[in-house]
Symmetry: C2
Subunit: 234 residues, 2 copies
């Protein structure tokens, strides 16, 4: 197919596909002549994945290329998901996601977090208590330590034990997330879904917590109002 | 006490306190003479709350003033929490919180979300299924609808029923949140804690989900590897 059909089938504009091609993100098509390129079925889902990574994930072109390389390697679903998961923006205290490794080198990131031994030790204690298997390269360990350090700075101190009930609920949430991936074997589809689950579905999880908080406030208020009116007779 | 003591006791720099005073965010102290103002105990925790709202919450000065007015009114904990909760930045698809009403008027916000009837109806169905009490003014309803609409645009469609298990876990999380507020009766302390819980603790919840996802990926991989190696003998 020509680039126009690739565009209509992938839903990504021709100009955007050409940009991805110039950046080396799209595998070469078969050159028919100096101005026309023929694309195959293997190209169709690729522009959408790239767009997910760049536009939804906010990944740099270099980082997108790393993820695509991983998706192209004959890795299992486990490794593919791991690479995508660590590349996506990491939640941080200022509320804005920043990319796992991002534009700066890993050393800069480590300095930036500088969470102090206390916070890092609490994260390790929590991971151990939960029996979680987390790689040493996970960007989420130092990010969690940085968040705990920020909380301590405003006088809100959380021990590993304080976080355990939250961690257990997070495990249940992650199980629901993985149920959404069940049955997807294709690596490109899996990578795309992982981006959607992490980047687009995360606000849903956060908003459900906000709604549940409002309801919890109502329930607590109602309970107090009832207990103030005295115990029921009899 | 003088402004220097107010600064050291609240942990907020003198220049910042003066700025809050110029913006009318700090109640007037007692003027001793044209250049010296005497502050009382009632002022001590105020600069910290203002700083939480402005720096952590990212609230505009006008919006901060609204929240402080609510904290100053003789409202119960329920109403105080409600006002703070609706004023804080709302999670959105682009990953950046934006303030509930923000700088633009409410009408602009409503247009911006424009989630379509389908998404709004799914949010209402979910709230009804959960039996949640949510006010009509909640900024989290249209934000959730907008998130669902964004997911639909990338081909990930969620019905109210799909979201129910997530909503149940959100309820459990919100109950943990409110356990953290138990025993705090003072309105300023409560408002401050609500900001911390929402703005600073939210990244913790998100990062725990990320860590739990990595562990879930490991567990799923392990289960598959074991089932591939065949059932145990005997």
């Amino acid at each position: 197919m020509r680039i126009s059909e690739l565009s209509s089938r992938s839903g990504v504009p021709v100009a955007t596909i050409k940009y991805y091609r110039r950046e080396g993100l799209l595998p070469e098509g078969r050159a028919l002549n100096p101005t026309a390129v023929e694309y195959g079925e293997e190209h169709v889902r690729r522009p959408r994945l790239i767009r997910s990574l760049v536009q939804l994930g906010g990944l740099s072109v270099a980082r997108t290329r790393e993820v695509l390389d991983a998706v192209d390697r004959p890795l299992g679903a486990f490794e593919t998901l791991g690479v995508v998961h660590h590349a996506l923006p990491v939640p941080s205290v200022d509320g804005n996601g920043k990319s796992g490794k991002g534009h700066a080198g890993p050393d800069t990131d480590r300095d930036e977090a500088a969470p102090g031994e206390g916070a890092a030790a609490r994260v390790e204690a929590l991971i151990e208590s939960m029996g979680w298997q987390i790689s040493d390269e996970s960007p989420h360990r130092p990010a969690l330590a940085a968040s705990l350090a920020a909380l301590r700075r405003v006088g809100a101190d959380y021990t590993a034990d304080d976080l355990l009930p939250y961690a257990r609920l997070a495990t249940s949430t992650a199980d629901l997330d993985f149920a959404q991936l069940d049955g997807i074997e294709d690596r490109i589809a899996l990578a795309e879904r992982a981006v959607v689950l992490t980047v687009l579905f995360e606000p849903v999880v956060r908003l459900l917590r906000r709604l549940a908080q409002e309801d919890a406030n109502h329930r607590r208020h109602h309970r107090r109002a009832c207990s103030r009116s005295g115990p029921p007779a009899g």
